[in-house]
């Protein structure tokens, strides 16, 4: 069989999702943001919600997410995405509303909005990309930075005496009455990506069915900020991040 015979539309098994446009993404090589964008595009398409989805962009590397996926987007001020999403969902109850936030955005400047929106049980999904640093601004320490982890603002490693302890906001969210589904996933290999996709789909389904607020944390890499190659960054994440940020479902009220 020739290559031309295989490359026919009826044999296509995977390609760039239809909702992802041709604009090349500004993310660094190997960035987890791209994989999660792809999953979101695939899920929205599978759920047939192309015309009914509103995403809320953060401030951080994902600030330009609206340039890459052909759905409705709203840009929020730093950390305020869950507040904006609350308004969108309350005004357009039939829409799928989700926020897409980094750890600096969600766990630091936006910790208040995040906790209150989740506690109120807003019918939204919060997608939380946790790379343990401020990626966009140069790899500074974030609330999520691991103890001992070196960043540009703690070059000798995070010291709890001086910098306090990492904030496990996903764990915290499980104790809030308003949350329906809280999970922690990663996208570092094929199995993990499949599981992360199922998790995001479940969260989106809950949001559409008006079941609580949903938080999907994706433990991610930032190879530029961590000063590693994408392959090394994945390895480092498996060895270090997963000890503190354990993968799996933390809360599921429907189980």
């Amino acid at each position: 069989m020739t290559r031309e015979e295989i490359i026919q539309s009826e044999n296509l098994v995977m390609a760039k999702p239809r909702l992802m446009n041709d604009t090349t993404m500004h993310y660094c090589p190997g960035c987890s943001h791209g994989v999660v964008h792809k999953l979101i595009a695939e899920i929205i398409e599978e759920m047939g919600l192309e015309e009914k989805t509103i995403g809320v962009c953060p401030v951080g590397c994902a600030v330009f997410a609206y340039r890459y996926l052909d759905i409705d987007w709203q840009e929020a001020a730093h950390g305020r995405a869950p507040a904006v999403a609350t308004a969108c969902k309350r005004l357009w109850n039939d829409r799928l509303v989700f926020t897409y936030q980094g750890d600096g955005d969600l766990a630091c400047i936006g910790a208040c909005e995040t906790i209150h929106a989740l506690n109120r049980g807003e019918k939204i999904t919060v997608i939380f990309i946790n790379n343990a640093i401020y990626g966009m601004t140069g790899g500074q320490m974030a609330p999520t930075t691991l103890v001992g982890m070196k960043t540009s603002t703690c070059p000798y490693g995070r010291d709890p005496e001086l910098h306090g302890y990492p904030l496990n906001i996903t764990e915290l969210a499980t104790h809030l009455e308003g949350t329906a589904y809280v999970t922690r996933q990663s996208v570092h290999n094929v199995m993990a990506i499949r599981k992360a996709k199922a998790a995001i789909k479940k969260a989106f389904t809950n949001s559409m069915n008006g079941i609580g607020s949903n938080l999907v944390e994706i433990v991610s890499t930032c190879s530029t900020g961590w000063k590693k190659s994408p392959v090394e960054a994945n390895k480092w994440m498996e060895d270090n991040m997963f000890k503190f940020y354990q993968i799996g479902d933390l809360k599921d009220v429907r189980r």
Partner: protein, 77 residues
């Protein structure tokens, strides 16, 4: 034994940033980062070194953060 499934991939070299996650993921080691070739973004990009052994498992496309790989798969009768 005759191989039952034949795959093929098409790489969008212009979107590729040469992160090499697909190179690491391919179960048969059929991909590599092109040597001394860059795209208009200035990145070295990935290329397939062996077309006949591809089964179209789509692992490369699944891990690709920039959605540069299209995967085709056909059953050989």
């Amino acid at each position: 034994m005759m191989k039952k499934i034949q795959g093929a991939i098409v790489i969008n070299e212009e979107r590729c940033k040469g992160c090499a996650l697909c190179v690491e993921t391919c179960p048969f080691g059929l991909l590599q980062i092109a040597v001394r070739k860059v795209n208009t973004q200035g990145y070295p990009y990935v290329e397939q070194t062996n077309e006949t052994d591809c089964t179209g498992c789509a692992n490369c496309a699944t891990v690709c953060p920039d959605a540069c790989i299209s995967v085709y798969r056909k059953k050989v009768l």
